[in-house]
Symmetry: D2
């Protein structure tokens, strides 16, 4: 495969939902790394800077090196602790905002020590639940200002903003691709871009393929890609490609077409499945899509999309699925 | 107020989501009961038969009696333990189905000891996540058969089926009011009916007021009501009435119109709020709605809905909101 | 192919939306029949009993015979004329209900003269737009009563109720599979069943494959199937299979599994495409799905769905797509 | 009332959907103007530059003057004619793009003659229906380039981009507030802003109040407001405020808070109601909301939203609804 694949380290483990605290016994970091390394398509991992991880960072770094897994990106942990429950960078409380800034600085340090320059920010708690609960003006301004400051402090770090329409808040501030790109632009900094999570994009009634093009045209802003699947209403975090097959194929065409050279990171919540096996299945699907598009050839697709002809597109999708791959 | 109000005992406590394991420190059962009792509109509680609760049932019963709180209903716990992760009554594994039956029998015993005859079944794990994962025919048949057997074993217990379109599964078997009523009918037993959770109903793109009428017309099947609010895409479990105000008002009209004499149970997940205060807010909204409808009078509403005139309905809704209440 | 395919006659023509009255020039009935006949997979047509069609029914019957196209079903026209704007069988106005009954009787006569026994009822205007606009109890009772009377008057005619969650009303009375099956059961008549429109089912957040099983288990009630595709939020009426590929494959498995022996009718709105070509594309997709499932074999699928194993299901879906067909 | 209210002239008439071509007999322009003028809260109208209107523009201008109705804005007609069916400014066909530019120039001329400087662009046909149908990169670039050219040609005309997630296409290019603001920014021209249609915003899972703040913070870009209501899944175009009451109230708070000084234009599709009466109902709701917020006072709301306290917000919403207005 030509694309570089990674997985969120925790995803090869276990997941809980709000009803069941433990569908299965959790794994140690060492076991998680072994499990990730056992998926042949993967050459990297993404991490979330939880207190538990930060506490043993050097050990993890060594184990990843031993397993020949690169650290692709580290995501801020601004969503697992109660202190962020009313927002991080958008909080009305200056102390909370500064705590988030300090955490980000710490994670940048971590990033460097892990040999990566890609910081992922998913502001999951930055939003609101109720009407008349929030000062959108002040909170959005705080958010934008903090990201701008971070981008200025660390001009060599690329900051990927991960958008999502809702959950855990009923409404997120950075809710879709348009808003993420707008926010990136408002910072005025080149090192702020977008992390496209395919599941979040589908929840926002976007076509992820179109988002790849949007990011390209508005400043080559696609910094990172997260992969999972869903039925469009919730962040189901299913095996990638097991639901939205054709959307995934078109997405791969657009990655090729726009020359995306970043990583593709599996980001799932396998509640009832073995985490390692569920992620391995995603890797299989992604390899299948990548190969199908490559074998079919970009040129034939280019020809069809020039015409805007739906009949031709429909016929081509069927041919694409019928393509025999090596 | 004329309606009888209850709360799920756990709801006056704390809630977690899949990201944050503990937004706040949990409370003991004793404290939860005190907190529920402190909400003046409430005269009952609903319980979930978790292992933790079952273990101290006699103590809880005594504390509830001391607090003058009636036990309205007990819900089966077929969703918090890993053993139900692929379904309870619909499981392909006979042992799991029988375990669910045994649990139900145990809860019926509990119910009796708590002086209630209303069993709530929310089959949250009975459904599927992936395409091509399930034998819908066999699993739906198992589900229906188990509920029928339960209804036959305990003819004096009323069984309320609580439907929901999704979560924690991507698709639930008992997904909406039509399917719940159909299932109730297929059992051929009078003691099987519906628990209408307003949030679940909104998620299913239903109008809860219409569901009250559906239940009435198809055999007086509205056995129980759960209350919370949301933005229609997810089970946000917000303070009741804080979002869908007009739907709630119409719902109260239909409760009155159909002579609903059961309980109304607050069922929320106050992640970031004090649980007791969030439930107290719901009670305030519900009292407001109940009083508004009563003050405005059913007769005026009857007159308008006879005409199917949207202009008249719109005008009346505004008048309803403007009604001065005592 | 083993399944019998049909098309709504008007669908090989043109379509308008609420903005653009005429995306293309309409065709005569004679031309529509020629166009339908030119799609090799089709051996039948479905009709809607519009005044324009009724006026020339004998001529159309002759032209269909010449074109060797069977009339699969005729749908009542209770949605294109202003007189039905507040409902047909559910109308509070007795005269409107009786007009709908008379129309139905006329269409039954038409059906017989066309050699079919399958009456399709899509109660598109039976529902409501506004809160507080409707007497759900009375209107649902009227609807159920009228359908029951029809079923009793014409015991040899099979009546297929086509459900849909919304549009043209914001809320339909017969809104999903559960409600359609419930309504069929409440009539107490064997000759009332369900017309499953895949697009409507996806809009209702159902899995159409599951609906096939639901219909089987609750009285073998799948009387008719309409085919089209969408992105789950609206009735996009796209080329079948061009979006929800895997859902369609699972649907074909369940048609096979339950021994469905009825027709599959293409029902699209090709606004911007040539209608004939868009329907021909659907026929191609459907043939592809039918062949894929047949070639892959039911037995392998049976094995997987017994296990409820998502990993196995995911792997199998990929193998299914990779299956080489003759 | 302090805000200036308008209505789309056609909205006081009749509407059709894709099933029923004529729910009621249409009105002449002269009658439409009389009908709009009969709604006391209105002091302006918005127009769509259809061929029928353009043909009699001088007459309409005179009649509006006689009726003392100001022309608030004219919207391009790039959605009612078949020539735009694959897009206007985003079309791959240079001739179509130039035809759209020429139409826009003509409408600017019209605007001036009607004494307005506000051009509304709703690119309803600019988007796509099928996967693999479109070259997003080229089409989005064309769109942006055309709008930029227009903005440069007419620096004194304010251009309001009206976004919408879907319909009539399954996916629109300018799909939500973030994308509209991003597009406005990418033109680099101050005279490009946003037309916020509340119904479109709800369809995009936005909170319109938040969008008012977003527009304020990102360059004071709220150029125009369209008003109607819906149940969040489709563009139901219902009487404003008859469904999302609390969202409307919060929206009015934010209009006040950000000092919005533009017009509020009613934009509905009253299929089954008298158009004039349905729009008059919206005007009544809007007056009610405006007065409620004014009477309650911004200061109390300011106090609550500073705290981000959901309990306080919930309580305040109830107090707001209970506020007695003069």
């Amino acid at each position: 495969m030509n694309y570089k694949y990674s997985v969120f380290l925790a995803n090869v483990g276990t997941a809980n939902d709000r009803y069941c605290a433990e569908y299965a016994k959790p794994f140690t970091f060492a076991r998680l790394i072994e499990r990730a390394a056992s998926i042949p398509q993967l050459s990297g991992v993404d991490l979330v800077a939880t207190p538990a991880l930060v506490a043993v960072a050097p050990e993890i770094r060594r184990q990843l090196a031993d397993a020949k897994l690169k650290t692709v990106s580290i995501a801020l942990d601004i969503f697992t602790e109660p202190k962020w429950k009313q927002g991080s960078f958008s909080s009305r409380d200056r102390k909370v905002r500064e705590a988030a800034m300090d955490h980000a600085r710490q994670v940048v340090g971590l990033l460097r020590s892990f040999g990566s320059d890609l910081l992922t920010i998913w502001p999951g708690q930055d939003g609101f639940d109720y009407l008349f609960q929030s000062d959108y003006l002040a909170e959005r301004a705080h958010f934008c200002e903090c990201v701008t400051r971070l981008a200025e402090e660390f001009p060599k770090i690329r900051i990927a903003l991960e958008y999502k329409p809702r959950e855990p808040r009923t409404h997120s501030y950075v809710q879709n691709a348009g808003t993420a790109l707008l926010t990136a632009h408002m910072t005025g900094r080149k090192n702020v871009g977008v992390a496209l999570d395919l599941g979040h994009s589908l929840m926002a009634y976007e076509n992820p393929a179109d988002v790849v093009a949007m990011c390209k045209i508005h400043g080559d802003k696609l910094f990172h890609v997260h992969i999972n699947d869903n039925f469009m209403f919730a962040d189901d975090d299913l095996i990638a490609g097991s639901v939205r097959t054709l959307e995934y194929l078109e997405f791969y065409y657009w990655l090729n077409r726009t020359g995306y050279s970043g990583w593709i990171t599996i980001d799932q919540f396998p509640y009832r499945e073995d985490g390692r096996d569920a992620c391995a299945e995603s890797a299989e699907w992604l390899g299948y899509f990548e190969t199908l598009i490559k074998t079919f050839g970009l040129a034939r697709i280019n020809q069809v999309i020039k015409t805007k002809n739906a009949i031709a597109a429909s016929r081509m999708m069927r041919e694409l699925l019928k393509t025999r791959i090596p």
